[in-house]
Structures are given as C-alpha cells and as structure tokens.
C-alpha cells in the first residue's frame, strides 16, 4: 500500500468517525490500532527526505513526547514527523536548526547521569522526560542548554502545528468540517450562552 493509500485509509477512518458525530465517544485506541494495521499492511514506513534515519527516529520520538496519545491519538498517528521532514526538505535554514537541535539532544543525554544513554532515541522514557522537563521551560535556559531550549520551542510549535492541522489531530478539539444528517443545536449550548448574558 502506498503512502497515498494509507492516507486514504486514515481519511476514510476519520470521516467515518466524523460521520458518527460522536467524537468524544471515540475509542481512540481502537482507531489507533486500525490505522497502525493499515500502515503495517502498507509495509511503507515514511522514508525521510531531509533527515538521516537516525535523526528522523529522534524527531519521531520527540514529537511523540510532545503530543502523546492518551484516549485520543497523538503525534505519531498523525504523522507529524514526516510532515516536519517534508518542510525541512524545502528550507535549508530550518533543516540546519533541526540537525543541530537533534544532535544536541544526543550529546546532552549522553553526557548526563550515571546511567548514560548512547543517544536520545535509545534512552529510557524516564531519561528522555527528565531532559524535556528542563528544556521545555524558558526559565531553565542557561548558557549551557540554550541550543536545546531554543530548539524545543521550535519543535513544540511545529509539532503542535503538524498535529492540530492533521485530520487525526484536529479531532482532538474540533468537531466541524464534517457532514451531518441534521443541524442540531444542543440545548446546553443555548442555555450556557443565554444564562451568562444580560438577557437571561
């Protein structure tokens, strides 16, 4: 199955979810499993165009940490890392920032702690989050980690953009842009607005 076919599978899935009109009731784990099966059947993992295989694996793990799956899908299912790699492929300055930032993650995690990891992607989840707990906040920025903090700001922004503009990720918050058999206005929504207005 080609990349296009996989996207079609996801699209059908998402449309089916949307058509059901019950986003909140969605069993996302099931959706995730179905989509993963579709991807596996495709046998086609995304082949990075801008990053090396190692850099891409690092990016994929980073996006997974930034927007993880819970009862709804996260960045992995939304193919955020492939989208970012595609953008890096058309912007050399942007690519340079990622190459430097991803390398910094490897160097920093290899330098830290008694139980050193070889690199970011092979570190334990605890080691990875310990690092992000520092660089994900501007208040922790120091001369020693500024590359990491600045890169994280960029990676978080692009991961969120990639996730929430995807068909899968959009549904985390948004229920529109979907066909409906009838236009229904919940009484709770009307009551909410009127009861908070001077016209209640």
């Amino acid at each position: 199955m080609s990349e296009i076919t996989r996207r079609d599978a996801l699209q059908r899935l998402t449309l089916a979810i949307a058509a059901a009109g019950v986003i909140d009731a969605l069993d996302a784990r099931e959706a995730h499993a179905a989509a993963s099966q579709a991807a596996a059947a495709a046998g086609g993992r995304y082949v990075p165009k801008a990053l090396s295989a190692h850099e891409f694996a690092t990016l994929e793990r980073l996006t997974d940490l930034i927007v993880p799956a819970d009862d709804k899908p996260g960045a992995l299912l939304a193919d955020v890392a492939p989208w970012i790699d595609t953008l890096l492929n058309v912007n050399a300055d942007l690519k340079a920032k990622y190459v430097a930032g991803l390398a910094w993650l490897d160097t920093a995690i290899a330098a830290g702690g008694a139980e050193r990891a070889k690199d970011f992607v092979s570190a334990t989840p605890a080691q990875q989050t310990a690092m992000l707990d520092v660089i994900a906040f501007r208040k922790n920025r120091t001369a020693g980690n500024e590359t990491g903090v600045d890169f994280f700001v960029l990676a978080r922004r692009m991961t969120c953009d990639g996730f929430y503009t995807s068909m899968v990720g959009m549904r985390d918050v948004y229920v529109g842009n979907a066909p409906q058999a009838a236009f229904v206005v919940p009484q709770a929504a009307i009551d909410h607005v009127i009861s908070r207005s001077p016209l209640k």
Partner: protein, 569 residues
C-alpha cells in the same frame, strides 16, 4: 475549448455570460425547447472544483508555505479553497476616475460569481419597485412586485430558499425550505433585538434542507462559499447550466470574451464578435437574438464598445444612458466581544453560514430618519473554528512544557469564537455621479477598450451608514458585548463596488429617453437585444440582488421564447 459551430449557423439565441442571469435564461429557454449558445469568458467548471470538506491537511504544507517560510521569519500562507474562480484578471484591467474609488470584482468561469456568493436570497419588497412613490427620489421600475412575484415563486421552486413566513412588508415571504435551527449566538441576537422592538428572523439562503429536483439536502458543512460539490445550494453552474446541457439544446463556448455586437443596416444584432482566449483569435457567432448576461458593467461595456455609423455612441445608447446610474449596496460592519459565548459546550456550529438575519424594521417610520431608505443586517460569528497553522500557540507559549498536561491545556483553552459581527446592507439612491464609461485610452490584452468608473456617495448613504453603526452598537451592547472598533462619525467612505452588488447601467424604464430597456428587458430600439443580469435594475433595494436577477431573467426568457415563436424578433 471553443466548440465553434459552422460560421454559417444562425443561433436562435446567443447568451453572453453564465452567472445568475445567463444561467437562468439558459435553463428556461432550454426547457422550453429553444436552442441556445451560451458564451462564457472563462473556463468550464466541474463539481470537483468545489473544495468542500477540505482542511489545512488538503495542502501539503498546511499553510507553512511552499518553503516553510512561516518557521524562518516569514508569514503563514493563507489557505483558500475557493481559489479556482479567482481568475487572474490582470489582462483585463479597468480604470477609476480621479477622485473616485471603485472596486470591480469579477469571476470568469461557468457560473460566475454564483459559485461562491453568500447565498442571501431576498425578494425585493413592493415599495422597492416604486421607490419614487414613497420618497420622491430616484426612479420607479416599469414593473411592480405583482409582475415579478410569480417568477420569484418559480425561482424558489427550482433553487430552494430557506426561511419561514413572517408577514413582514420589508421581507416578502416566499416558497420556503425548512430553515436550520438558530445557533446560540443568533438566539442571543434575536432576544436582544426583540427587547429593542426589532424582529430578527430565519435567514433566507439559497440552500436546500430537503431534497429538491434531484439535489440532496445540505449537510451543514458551512462552506457554501467554496461552491457545493453536491449542489445543495444555488449556483447557476450546477443548478441551471449543467441540467440545461442535458436537454441537448445548449451549446457552450468557454474562454470566449465578447468584444462587440455586430449589427445590420436596420440596427438589429446579427452576430457576436468575440476573442477565443485560448488562441487569441477573433471569432464570430451569428444570432437571431442576443441576451447580455455579462454583469451590469460588463454588459454596459459591450454595448458601449459596439459602435457603428448608425450608432456612434454604442448600441442602444442613443440617449447616452448606457453606463449611467450605477449603484452598489451601502455596507457597514461592526463586531463585538460577547463574553456570554465563552466556554460554550463544543458542537458542530458550521450549518449553512448565518441562520438569522434582521430585515429592515423602520419601513413605516422613515420620517423619523435623516436618510430615505432602509437596510437589513447580516449576522456572523460565534462558531467553533477549524485549527490552522499557529493554533493554540497562545496556550502552549503560556503553559510551556509538553505531553499530556500541554495537550489538556490546549483542550481546555479551545472554545467558540466570542465575536459577534453585524454587516449592514442598505439601499442606495441612484445618482448621476456614479457611472461607468469607456476609458478613452486604455485597452485590455485583446485590444478591447476598458471601463472607467466614477463614484460618489451622497448624504442618503452616508447618513444611513451612520445609523447602521449606531443601531449595531445598541444591539451588541445590550447583549453585554464590547464593541471591537469604535465607529467613526461620519463613517469613512468605502469604495463603490465593495459589496459586489453593482447593478444598473442598462436600466429598464417606460420612457425611452431616460432608459435603455423596456419592461421586458428588451432594448427600446433594438428589437432582438435583451439584457438579463443586474444591468436592468432601475434602483437598488437593500436586498442582495441575486434573487431579483434570477426572477427578472426568468420573466425575460419566457417573454423572449414567446416572441421567438411569434417571429417578433
């Protein structure tokens, strides 16, 4: 793309332009068994051109830009899924006279501007046809509401219009599709208006909510402006022209820019000369009758450019009236932040755009006002928006971090828009300072002389705009809203044409000295020349013109068919 018939063929009817007017004439005549040739200056469209249910994911960069420039100091690229009709018209310029401000929005494709218009589908009221009888200003139409009402009925039966019977004089009832329920912010607006003695009612949109003539009902995706790929709203392309083509009575010639009407010694039109844009060559089609449906200003341009020794001022322009009394709609907008909307439970608010509008409420009280004619109000805002590039940046830049806490904060921070916006749409009094003429120097890519526009608002419009803004403020503040932009007094003068409701220029009238067309939109002195677009409008009500263009074109088409049968053309 031109399907050029043998040049010796004389077509019974050549229709120039495929928007609301041309689409209607095409459908009515084809259904009556009349063979027509429909000429359009742009390309054919297909249902796949209408990008319904697309989102940012439909574009590979999703708005980050072809070079991802949004992330290296550039700006995000706005995503537009209605770009196909925005033809590049740099080859077809127009000019604006010094001291005037005018904007001419054109669409070159089958269906023209009907593919993407706002679908506000309002009947003119009885007084809109006889405005001079009420305020002594402007001109009366040669026809009355009773003449056109049956054609509004026919139009509604074909295209479908939402609404409920209200019995309001300023908003005549029609044959309505069941409207969708009001949205919460619209219920709030309706309550606020009621308290002020103003009646706000279900919007009248050219959208179907139950199956009609083989078209499925609306599925409430809210993207009417992209064109509907299942034809649940009106566009002349898929509601009239495509079905008409199936009758076998329609020949379509696309990318054909009409240049001139060719006449014989008696002054009758014998052929239409046009530029085939695909080859740049000049072609001709012969005709027994011609219907101009190119839009008010484009039809005027064609007449003015059709000069011959018997009519050196252009065709049907003995009295110099072609191009005169151009009108647009008077527009003013105001929005407010309305806190009552914040935190509203999430639901799909898309619908078919606005489900509520406010008809003019002071029909019987004009003497209290310092402007002569009314306006209606279109209501917007209040919905849940689709995420795009930059979504939730306010939230994650504030809470920082990553993972589930950030994801949850984004969910918590997502809410409906708390803006409610009002757009006033007002009647304009025709005046002699608003007109178009042929620019003496400038020509378009094909050497066709272009239009030059003149524009001047009068106090009647300026005062009306001020009244709109004052009313909007009162209503918005009564809902607890804080107005976003302070109203300027007097309001700044926007360009003419800005509301894209330009009508007039080829006006009907009983008196051939001050009008171009008779009561059936036939040129007074050219018996085989008809006009079916916004051109025949004698004066302009507050109502959006599309519905009246369709009704008038329908009436003209039936008359033309009867005249053809009687060999009166």
């Amino acid at each position: 793309m031109a399907q050029v018939a043998p040049r010796s063929t004389v077509h019974d009817v050549v229709i120039i332009g495929s928007g609301a007017g041309g689409g209607t004439v095409t459908k009515v005549l084809a259904d009556l068994g009349v063979k027509v040739l429909l000429m359009e200056a742009g390309p054919m469209v297909s249902m796949g051109d209408f990008k319904m249910l697309h989102g940012p994911y439909s574009v590979w960069h999703r708005g980050a830009g072809e070079h991802a420039e949004a992330y290296t100091g550039g700006r995000p690229t706005p995503l537009s899924f209605d770009a196909f009709y925005r033809a590049d018209l740099s080859d077809e310029p127009y000019t604006v006279a010094e001291g005037s401000s005018f904007r001419w929005f054109r669409s070159r494709c089958i269906g023209g501007r009907t593919n993407h218009y706002g679908r506000v589908q309002l009947r003119y009221a009885d007084y809109d046809f006889k405005p001079r009888d009420y305020d002594g200003l402007g001109f009366n139409w040669p026809i009355s509401y009773a003449d056109i009402a049956p054609y509004y009925d026919k139009a509604e039966r074909l295209i479908g219009v939402t609404g409920k019977a209200e019995g309001l004089r300023s908003a005549p009832d029609g044959i309505f599709q069941e409207p969708a329920p009001l949205k919460p912010h619209e219920i709030l607006v309706q309550k606020a208006c009621a308290k002020l003695g103003i009646k706000a009612i279900n919007s009248r949109q050219a959208v179907i909510t139950s199956p009609l003539n083989g078209r499925p009902p609306c599925h409430y995706c809210g993207q009417c402006g992209r064109g509907c790929s299942q034809a649940s709203n009106y566009a002349s392309s898929y509601v009239q022209i495509f079905p008409a083509m199936k009758t076998g009575n329609v020949t379509v010639v696309t990318n054909a820019m009409a240049r001139e009407l060719v006449t014989d010694a008696s002054g009758k039109v014998t052929a239409v000369s046009y530029i085939d844009k695909t080859t740049g060559t000049e072609q001709q089609v012969r005709c027994r009758t011609v219907v101009l449906s190119a839009s008010a200003c484009e039809s005027a341009r064609l007449l003015l450019n059709s000069k011959a020794s018997q009519h050196p001022q252009g065709l049907a322009n003995e009295n110099g009236q072609v191009g005169k009394y151009l009108t647009d709609t008077v527009g003013a907008s105001m929005s407010a932040q309305v806190p009552a909307l914040a935190g509203m439970p999430t639901f799909n608010t898309d619908g078919y755009g606005a489900h509520l509008y406010i008809p003019w409420w002071m029909v019987e009280r004009h003497k209290e006002l310092d402007f002569p004619r009314g306006y209606h109000v279109e209501v917007g805002g209040g919905g849940f928006g689709m995420p795009g590039i930059g979504f939730a940046s306010g939230t994650y830049n504030r809470v920082e971090g990553y993972g589930l806490p950030m994801k949850q904060a984004i969910r918590d921070g997502y809410g409906p828009g708390t803006t409610i916006g009002f757009s006033g749409r007002g009647a304009m009094i025709p005046n002699e300072d608003c007109f178009c003429e042929i620019d003496p120097e400038k020509k378009d890519k094909w050497g066709i002389p272009v239009l030059r526009f003149h524009w001047k608002w009068r106090d009647s419009e300026i005062n009306q705009r001020a009244h709109m803004l004052a009313s909007f403020r009162t209503i918005l503040e009564s809902m607890g809203g804080t107005v976003n932009t302070p109203a300027t007094t007097p309001p700044a003068s926007p360009p003419g044409g800005g509301i894209i409701h330009e009508v007039g220029c080829v006006r009907m009238g009983d008196d051939p000295k001050i009008s171009v067309l008779d009561g059936f939109c036939r040129a007074h002195h050219v018996p085989n020349l008809f006009v079916a677009d916004g051109g025949p409008f004698v004066s302009h009500a507050d109502k959006n013109p599309t519905h009246t263009i369709i009704a008038l074109a329908w009436r003209t088409a039936e008359y033309l068919a009867a005249e053809l049968k009687k060999a009166n053309v």
